[in-house]
């Protein structure tokens, strides 16, 4: 027990040190702080992008879903894969545009494309509204992980307070460079730990993969396939499509994209990342192994399955290592979320309210926002109760509403007006909010529809409303564009 505490403490200290050292040799302007001076090569960008895979959500939630729900958990593997195939085309376009204009936030991108501050403000607020629940999720996970791995010696609240303090420290000092350095440590640890657990546990408890799955199938028939209703193939497909579109409209992902040194980084990553994220599979194996080995965890306790089976199987030093890796899965994504939210608030909210502020001032404001945001999220985590769960569920659907306006802006000129984009996003968000708060699903909204339609992810409706409003507004406000195309040599037409 003391061994596991010591390991947790040591890794925590190493992570902080790395995070603090990361800024050496770089003057921390806003561009350095938020997007690493756009100087990251394949490796760092790869780590930042891959950082999305191993958040506490995948570590605890991935194993928890496999444990509690079975086959539907596999959607995580699929949406990331499809998101990467999309990234090959999407990210170079975003990067190129941002690089030419030295953009630092996602809202900057919309402002530049649509030439609308109002739209930028909306995107900024939507972004922050989605980021905070995500940060809360990381802090919650951090609390669970540390208290489990310390055998209860450290309470979740203590863990969250110290974790947040460390996070604020290195984020303020090093910005995104701190994230990149700690990401390297995190991925190294998690890779080894997850693979070892995912191979060892099935053999230890069942004698092999085949034997494990046969046993599970006998004990829980239907657990290893998608059910006919509820989390059916229709649910699976719609969820995978929605979330794979949603990946790249997360504001912290935009920031990750901006850090790259060249656009080719994304093409290489699109080849490597699908394979790399296969490691998630081993997280599922841990969850599957736990279903029969440590039965009885229900509801949100399913998220504890990974630690329960680890504690039942391994010595305290190994549990300490697992906990330390888990700790990093909270810190690294957490730092990206903080940097992104702070940058948005400073650049796209403060900067708009006080337009005369210099880049230097905005940089300072951004860093000053970090402890404020961190504290706010921490208090939400500690006292938020049920409301957070609703917010968390909303997060993905909230950001996904930015997707139509993003894609329609990617051409040479946006295909829709700023007004249409604004109206579409607003309508989509209102739909998301009303659906989430009323707890509706397609089944409750339209009980007479066939089961396939009823099982669709409810986010589909909000996206449909969004696109419909965009189309309507575009039709109603259509006018002959008088000032047409500054004709840049268009690459689509070979000269």
């Amino acid at each position: 027990m003391t061994v596991s505490l010591a390991i947790l403490g040591a890794v925590f200290a190493i992570a902080i040190t790395l995070g603090l050292l990361a800024q050496r040799g770089h003057a921390m302007t806003l561009e350095q702080w938020s997007v690493g001076g756009r100087g990251f090569g394949s490796m760092f960008v790869f780590l930042l992008m891959a950082g999305e895979i191993y958040t506490t959500f995948t570590f605890l939630g991935g194993s928890g879903w496999a444990y509690g729900k079975g086959a539907p958990a596999l959607y995580i593997l699929c949406y990331l894969t499809l998101a990467y195939s999309l990234s090959y085309f999407l990210l170079p376009a975003i990067w190129r545009y941002a690089q030419e204009r030295r953009l630092v936030s996602q809202a900057d991108f919309f402002i530049a494309k649509y030439e609308s501050q109002a739209l930028g403000m909306l995107v900024a607020l939507v972004g922050v509204a989605a980021l905070i629940p995500y940060l809360v999720l990381q802090l919650k996970g951090l609390g669970i992980i540390v208290s489990e791995a310390s055998y209860g010696a450290i309470s979740p609240a203590t863990a969250m307070w110290s974790g947040t303090a460390a996070l604020v420290g290195y984020v303020v000092v090093s910005g995104v460079r701190g994230s990149a350095w700690t990401a390297a440590l995190k991925d190294g640890m998690i890779l080894v730990i997850v693979v070892v657990m995912g191979i060892y546990l099935p053999y230890h408890y069942y004698g092999g993969y085949g034997a494990m799955f046969e046993t599970i199938d006998r004990a829980k028939p239907g657990f290893l396939t998608l059910p006919g209703a509820g989390m059916s193939p229709a649910w699976f497909i719609s969820t995978v499509l929605l979330t794979s579109l949603g990946v790249y409209v997360w504001p912290q992902f935009f920031a990750g994209v901006y850090t790259a040194r060249s656009e080719n980084v994304f093409r290489k990553n699109a080849v490597m990342l699908p394979l790399y994220q296969l490691v998630v599979l081993f997280v599922f194996f841990v969850g599957f192994a736990a279903t029969l080995a440590v039965p009885g965890l229900t509801g949100s306790d399913a998220d504890l399955s990974l630690f329960r089976i680890a504690k039942q199987t391994f010595a305290p030093w190994a549990v300490g290592m697992i906990g330390a890796a888990g700790l990093l899965t909270a810190l690294v994504p957490g730092s990206m979320l903080l940097i992104t939210a702070a940058t948005i608030l400073a650049k796209n909210v403060y900067g708009v309210i006080a337009p005369s502020s210099s880049d230097h001032t905005i940089g300072l404001v951004a860093r000053a926002m970090v402890p404020v945001l961190a504290l706010f999220s921490l208090l939400l985590t500690l006292h938020g109760g049920q409301a957070i769960v609703a917010l968390l569920l909303m997060g993905y659907n909230v950001v996904t509403q930015l997707f139509p306006a993003l894609v329609l802006s990617l051409g040479h000129k946006p295909r829709i007006s700023a007004t249409a984009a604004l109206a579409g996003i607003l309508a989509g968000e209102l739909t998301v909010a009303s659906i989430t708060l009323s707890g509706a699903s397609v089944a409750t909204l339209a009980p007479s529809l066939p089961q396939v339609v009823k099982d669709l992810n409810v986010g589909v409706i909000a996206l449909a409303v969004n696109v419909t409003v965009i189309a309507l507004v575009s039709l109603l406000t259509r006018q002959r564009p008088a000032t047409e195309s500054r004709s840049t040599a268009n690459a689509a037409v070979p000269a």
């Binding site: 894969t81 195939s85 690089q99 060249s262 394979l275």
Partner: protein, 103 residues
């Protein structure tokens, strides 16, 4: 040895240039999700994995392979260069005349 390209091509400016082989990138979505109703079974186990899991894993690996093919084809056409802005003098974003490669 990289031979000279037989036909002189204009140096690509910016924006995505589309080719038929880019449609390969749609295969993972179509295959992985489209085949789901048929792949939604436990047996036969493949390498010890339930058929559904094996099906999805197979598509993940195929996605990497397909994206690698696209990258290679793009490279062969000079569409995926490691151009680092600032190292090459870039013509700005406005129309400063097509900066053609020497024909």
């Amino acid at each position: 040895m990289s031979a000279e390209t037989p036909t002189p091509r204009p140096v690509r400016q910016r924006g995505q240039e589309w080719h038929a082989y880019h449609a390969l990138a749609l295969l993972p979505t179509i295959g992985m999700l489209g085949g789901l109703p048929f792949a939604n079974r436990v047996y036969p186990l493949v390498l010890g994995l339930p058929f559904l899991i094996a099906w999805l894993v197979g598509w993940v690996i195929a996605t990497s392979a397909l994206m690698a093919c696209i990258l290679m084809l793009d490279r062969a056409r000079g569409l995926a260069s490691d151009r680092v802005p600032g190292e090459l003098p870039e013509t700005g974003q406005s129309a400063t005349g097509p900066s053609e490669g020497a024909p």
